[in-house]
Point group: C2
Chain length 208, copies 2
């Protein structure tokens, strides 16, 4: 049995969708981001980093989305969401997911989490970071559009763990100030993702 | 045959060390960061993101350190640097490497790459980011010291791809304003890493 600690409007949705895709037997625990429950002593016992999400397994607790996605895919090999036996294609999947976690998600986070990188009461710098987000996030999505998204899925004909991860970050692109007309492949990918029953179910659970 | 595009003083050292550890047949191409050669048209053909490093393989080009580390480990299984057949331990390795790329390395980058997240001519915000680096990088190393580094190696008794990656980021901790006395396990790890013949050889090649 797996337990996903999640919060709506966070990157936890990516792992949530993959749990649905593989048909895992899992439960969820909702953490209230609004009251910063993710920094509560109880949750810090689950994830000392105080971040979302966390996945409780029979062998221990896992954090960090790229790791959790591979873990779920590898635990349910029949779903075929990550070709771990092909080192090069698997590396391409890992490379894409690394770009999302270390570049796109980080650029996005400067809109609401600027206090991680400057003093929280430095209004000038916090605002300066927010003003840069439309450019930095747009450039990251343009790179994905031009160089990475093979189509119809991220890795081409094969649907993989990259797809729910990209979809989750693409939820926020309008709010980040990205012009959807400049990234038609990303927008088409998002639309097709949103029509999948697994995606609908995960979203419905998060916002129930 | 593998070819590593690298630059001294960058994260490329992590992959470089792992290539040595596995005994790979590889060559290197040095990119001059000082003249921003990483943004040259020739290098952008190798890595459109204009970042270090890139690994040219017989099947194509790979980027992003977490992906390259797993690829090299998986291509040379006898070296045993990543237990890919154990989904939970492999996920722990991936989780650690994700934390390095998306959190520790990002915190560090605010010291010299602030222009990614605010306008380059906004001196106030660039300086504000630099002032925060000692705190943000120290907190990340404290988290590694307290919660992640099992000892003697990152994953315990087994030396893995996590070790060269941590070692490479630990090269910069004094310049980032971290107090070494607060992270004795990290410092002991760095010292033992620096004594390995493979590490000495990779460093000697980068600075030759």
């Amino acid at each position: 049995m797996l337990t996903l600690y999640f919060a709506p409007h966070t990157i936890s949705l990516a792992t949530h969708i993959v749990l649905e895709e593989v048909g895992a037997d899992y439960t969820t625990v909702r953490i209230d981001f609004g009251t910063t429950q993710q920094r509560s002593p109880d949750y810090l016992k689950i994830n000392p980093k105080g971040r979302m999400p966390a996945l409780v397994t029979d062998r221990g607790i896992l954090t960090e989305t790229p790791a959790m996605l591979v873990y779920v895919a590898q635990s349910f090999p029949k779903a075929g969401l990550a070709p771990i036996d092909d080192p090069f294609v698997f590396a391409q999947i890992q490379s894409f997911n690394s770009y999302l976690c270390s570049h796109l998600h980080v650029a996005h986070a400067h809109r609401m989490r600027g206090y991680r990188w400057v003093d929280a009461d430095d209004r000038h710098s916090i605002a300066a970071m927010q003003r840069k987000v439309p450019q930095s996030v747009s450039e990251a999505f343009a790179m994905i559009e031009r160089e990475m998204l093979q189509g119809p899925w991220v890795m081409g004909e094969r649907y993989t763990i990259c797809d729910p991860y990209l979809f989750t970050l693409a939820q926020w692109l309008e709010t980040d100030g990205v012009d959807p007309k400049r990234i038609p492949k990303v927008m088409d990918h998002r639309r097709r993702m949103s029509e999948r029953a697994t995606v609908k179910k995960a979203i419905a659970q998060e916002f129930a």
